[in-house]
Homo-oligomer: 324 residues x 2
């Protein structure tokens, strides 16, 4: 990618690129196919998953340009049940490491965040289908009279299915069926960090970040709704649900080093960088790749996943297309 | 673009899309060609400009897939002078309305913000070549004890070459040759709004926005560096350089209505929306198209303008390419 006049990449740019490894180069690395339900692209299927789908032609129709869920399944309940059957077979057969983290916790699958759900799927399986996931993250911070702005981080429990033992933002949680965004933030702040209601009155929406990461488990086109929460210096978070090993309060500089370390959950990095940018600690003056980094915290998932008419008409005509 | 389950577009989404009309649909609307200097894409040329460039084969080499500045011009000064000659001929001949706003104020043209400049060009002409422009915007706000958060807007002078008489953010200015980012903010805050040095100590970097707009004048792939400045309630900005007609302090709700009106400068809208999002006034709870809007405030100009190897190698092999 580097053009001849480009300066060496900064550590921050490398990290922002790592969070978006699939956005930046994944598309070209193999035969990824759009996953279409009810005429709308809602995911992207990796070659290893595609191979398995060929065994279920009654459920998944594999086309040269895309894979579609059998259009005969017309409703939420039927689609959910038919997909769930396949996933449970895979899980029983020991296929796909991500299914070891089966949670009996469902995600609604939609073509866009604000459109009706098409079906639901166990959250451990969504990365196999490249389904967009939505979560809520809370940046908990303190204006320390001595150390200045300091940020609470959590260390994830070593028993968590995903990213065990990694450092993470103070509070984070996926949006599950039936919960609103702000509501999820409040719920997770209570469960993960025992933050009392009166302190949560200061919870402030601050935007969202979008990333497209890939790991050995699957694809992660994630959007995180971002909240800031200023906490009084005397408050110390404590965990209620067993999902957090410990919390630590770090001044800006140390916190940024922790985020840059290999011990921080990669898919949580954009939320932390966005916080440092919004609060004036990472700036265009101190970070040579500032613009690229900001753009990489907001990759255009809407454009990548939202061109059903164009793509599937072309495919139906039998003309070659670029897949994405 | 609307897929069948999409809710009607909100006013905010429509506005965010308007700021990005070229990003969203411009590429497909005509024969736009990459503009290449020293092997790097630094712009995009519209069909009407392309036609004129054919008259200057010594300066501009028009290829089927792109246009390149004659590679025989090897240095900044020569490139700048040869391009400037053409532009002055066009200006004298009354070609292109944007050149009526000729300013004798130069922009450095680079492949990326942090790479060395390849040449310079009068700022009125950059939109003819789709050259990325960088500016600084300051959101001036007051925590009014009665009205709550209130924002200072400026009304641009009716004698300005661009967007005369339109409402705009409190302070904004393009980055000209020789000025730093923070330095430009300080300079413009003094010239446009007479903000004294002691108040500018609170100037806080808060990120950047990227947009790709097109008007009858040309193409605007713009990145604005965003600063917030909290001002004391008793301070009233006043103009020093004749470029501002008036300033007005508006509570959040009225300010947002002003931004949504047709009297607000379109290319300044993303800065204002970003401010409302970062400060928790536009949220995922009150705006159904929140994610799309946030992504549209940060369109990936780096990806669109930064693929020289891939594109020009393919073109050199004579294979068909997608241009962009």
């Amino acid at each position: 990618m580097a053009s001849k006049d480009t300066e060496p990449m900064s550590r921050l740019l490398k990290l922002a690129r790592k969070c978006n490894c699939f956005y930046l180069s994944g598309f070209h690395s193999g035969d990824y196919r759009a996953f279409v339900v009810d005429g709308q692209q809602i995911g992207l299927i990796r070659p290893d998953v595609l191979k398995e789908l060929l065994n279920y032609p009654q459920v998944f129709q594999v086309q040269p340009e895309y894979v579609q869920l059998n259009p005969a399944f017309r409703h939420y309940a039927e689609r959910s049940a038919r997909v769930d059957e396949v996933l449970r077979e895979w899980r029983a057969g020991g296929k796909f490491i991500t299914l070891l983290g089966w949670r009996d916790e469902y995600y609604d699958v939609r073509s866009q965040f604000n459109t009706p759900p098409l079906f639901k799927m166990d959250r451990s399986a969504t990365c196999l289908f490249g389904i967009r996931k939505y979560g809520v993250d809370i940046n908990g911070y303190v204006m320390d009279p001595v150390k200045g702005l300091s940020i609470w981080l959590q260390k994830r429990s070593s028993s968590k299915e995903t990213w065990p033992g990694y450092w993470d933002n103070m509070v984070s949680g996926g949006l599950s069926v039936g919960f609103g965004i702000h509501e999820t933030g409040i719920k997770e702040a209570g469960e993960e960090a025992s933050i009392p209601q009166n302190l949560l009155a200061k919870l402030k929406s601050a935007g969202c970040v979008s990333l497209f990461f890939e790991s050995e488990k699957g694809l992660f086109p994630n959007t995180e709704f971002v909240y800031d929460l200023e906490l009084p210096p005397e408050f110390v978070p404590s965990n209620s649900d067993g999902e957090v090993e410990t919390f630590e309060l770090l001044p800006v500089k140390e916190c940024l080093e922790r985020v840059l370390s290999s011990h921080f959950k990669t898919t949580s990095v954009p939320v932390a960088l966005d916080f440092f940018i919004r609060h004036g600690y990472i700036t265009a003056e101190n970070e040579p790749n500032f613009i690229q980094i900001v753009e990489l915290l907001h990759v255009p998932l809407q454009t990548m996943y939202n061109q059903p008419q164009r793509k599937y008409k072309i495919a139906a005509n039998g003309e070659a297309t670029d897949a994405l």
